[in-house]
């Protein structure tokens, strides 16, 4: 019967504006009834030529630009660029600065994962966890505002250390936050993890087989949900992560449900790291002496850190002057979006929204 019914393919546009906070990405879908035959992402709506602009700015002037590279985890963007510049020079970072960098980056990772969980549940229809996760995220943003005055684009982690020391109210407030976050994450799990509707919408949806992870260079929680045990904090250690005791959660389901579980587990592990960092926070200066005419040695380096979306890397080519010669920034969502057509081929339209949300794609990382 199916062969006798002639069906036509329809080309449908899932336009640049989305009802949820994925950013501006256009997907041109070719659908046959309810099933997606092909999906072509059209990007470039958020292209701000960050790489070209960086070629004409000094290293200190590049840091606020890198904030906007991926504004949900701006601390990590700052950090990877500062790391790249420091690798090409002889600066020694003070201990206190390293600890503060770790604390800020892990708090930022928690905020980003909370946002992703909230947005994913909003896309699937459960509108309340979105507001609950944002309530916790507000506490983290209050901590950031107390430190550097900004809630979203921080310009805090600079070449040589961090820009300023934390105020005395930071540590008690941070500890207060850490005390409640485990109970709150348990709350989210109670609403979502065992919910049969959540499982029906997420289990078995958006399968990324292990070979696809290797092929498309997928990293971060999406790779760890497919059984690939790869975390740059453990396997290519940078800064002082080797001093902290934390686990890397790996799941083997390869589907949206396991990506969600990987993110929840990472929030808990990040809380562990921040607690240990706060306990071991030494005194001292927070920034090495970096002159206005900071120049790196000529050379090329590729630095990478573990961002909440995967690997974030900077390929910095310097000719020994005050300005970088070539900055190439790479974000994790780039590869996820590249793999998206292969993931959604053959699934239903209603699942596309769930898959797109669970991959945690943030457009500015792709368009730069």
């Amino acid at each position: 019967m199916a062969e006798q019914l002639r069906t036509e393919e329809m080309m449908v546009n899932m336009g640049p504006q989305h009802p949820s906070t994925h950013g501006v990405c256009r997907l041109i879908l070719t659908i046959d009834g309810e099933v997606i035959n092909d999906c072509v992402p059209v990007i470039g709506y958020l292209h701000r030529a960050i790489e070209k602009i960086c070629e004409n700015r000094t290293y200190a002037q590049c840091i606020p630009l890198m904030d906007r590279f991926e504004y949900v985890t701006a601390m990590s963007c700052n950090w990877v660029f500062a790391l790249a510049a420091e690798k090409l020079s002889d600066i020694e970072i003070p201990e206190r600065a390293e600890y503060l960098r770790v604390i800020m980056a892990e708090l930022n990772r928690m905020a980003s994962h909370l946002l992703c969980i909230g947005v994913t549940s909003m896309d699937i229809g459960a509108l309340t966890p979105f507001l609950y996760t944002f309530r916790e995220r507000e506490m983290i943003l209050d901590l950031f505002e107390m430190t550097c005055g900004q809630r979203l684009t921080y310009n805090y982690i600079r070449v040589g250390g961090v820009s300023r020391d934390i105020p005395p109210e930071f540590v008690p407030m941070c500890r207060q936050f850490l005390d409640i976050i485990d109970a709150k994450v348990d709350d989210y799990e109670r609403v979502l993890t065992e919910n049969p509707i959540w499982i029906a919408r997420n289990k078995g949806i958006g399968i990324i087989p292990e070979q696809m992870v290797y092929d498309y260079a997928i990293s971060g929680p999406s790779a760890r949900a497919s059984g690939v045990n790869f975390d740059i904090r453990k396997h290519d250690t940078y800064s002082i992560y080797d001093r902290f005791d934390f686990e890397v959660p790996v799941f083997y389901g390869c589907d949206s449900y396991d990506r969600y579980r990987a993110r929840i587990a990472e929030v808990r592990q990040s809380a562990r790291i921040v607690r240990q960092a706060l306990d071991g926070l030494p005194d001292g200066p927070v920034r090495a002496k970096v002159s206005m005419n900071f120049k790196t040695k000529p050379g090329e380096v590729y630095t990478r850190i573990e961002n909440s979306r995967g690997e974030m890397g900077i390929n910095l080519i310097s000719d020994g002057s005050r300005k970088p010669f070539r900055v190439r920034a790479r974000g994790g969502s780039y590869n996820h979006l590249m793999a998206l057509p292969d993931i959604v081929r053959g699934t239903k339209i209603a699942d596309l929204v769930a898959i797109f949300a669970s991959l945690d794609i943030i457009m500015p990382e792709i368009d730069r």
Binding site: M14, P19, M122, G125, A126, L127, A200, K348, A350
Partner: protein, 344 residues
Amino acid sequence: MELAPVFDWLYNQLSALGLGDTLNNLISLIVVSVIVFGFLCLVALFLVWWERKISAHVQQRFGPMMTGWHGALQTVADAVKLLQKEDITPAIADRNVFFWAPVVCFTCAFAAYVVIPFGDGLIVSDLNIGILYIIAITTFTIISLLMAGWGSNNKYALLGGMRSAAQGVSYEVPLVLSILGVVMVTGSMSMNDIVRAQSGWGGFHWNVFFQPLGFLIYVTAATAETNRTPFDIPEAEQELVAGYNVEYSGMKFAMFFLAEFINMFTVSAITVTVFLGGWNGPFLPSWVWFLGKTLFMVFIMMLFRWTYPRLRVDQLMEFSWKVLLPLAFLNIVYVGVFAKWLNW
């Protein structure tokens, strides 16, 4: 005190004044309709406000606070805004069908209130096929969804309308079967009889204690009938296909919107009447008990919306045909066996 249904009472009063038969009928009809219509408009206004407040408090925020006491006049403000909007009919739409779809939806929502017992004797007309009449009228709403989808002449609206209609028709079957269980025990389809049969035993004679499975099936099927989450995929904004009311704006859209809330109240009222003892209750007047219980059921349905994610369309249909329907049949068998055995 045994009160007669409202329509009969009014008719008798007016005939005592010596008016002719036709005039009597006409005046009684108009007065009763106006009263019911007015009450339902107030209910719709109240429910819209209540939904916004409940959703806000579930999400740890305040909701409307500025217009009136805690935002009580917010719905009035929204209604005034919608009245001022331009009434757009798309050029390629089928004008007649497009116009009449919201009218049909709204009318059927109201027409169900002829047999809802608001209290002891506070029923417009105690038809002896009460519950069957309600089920028939609420099924008409599905026709209005199809009319909306077709009349918009928009492939997405049509798909959305057909999905809503398919969902409505599928969930009718377990809904009717769960009510059938109660009708079997009561022996009558009249709403007053069903409520009276649940009086006594200090509240433990309510049908929910004897047929809990029927109650759960009814509440689930009713949530799906009124297109509420977790079954609201035809109306979801995040999905690609936008739903049957995508081309409607202004007052026509408001009619669909208000009809959804009236339907929710209807369905809760039926739950209360059939399973939760209707207007039975000590001390307080009967209509207070009825309103309290109905608003409680409405509250439960609103909590569903703000807690659960939504099901995909095929999962929704699978749930109805593969899970609810066998359970509903099981319920009938159970009622038949036990009602016969225990002589309920």
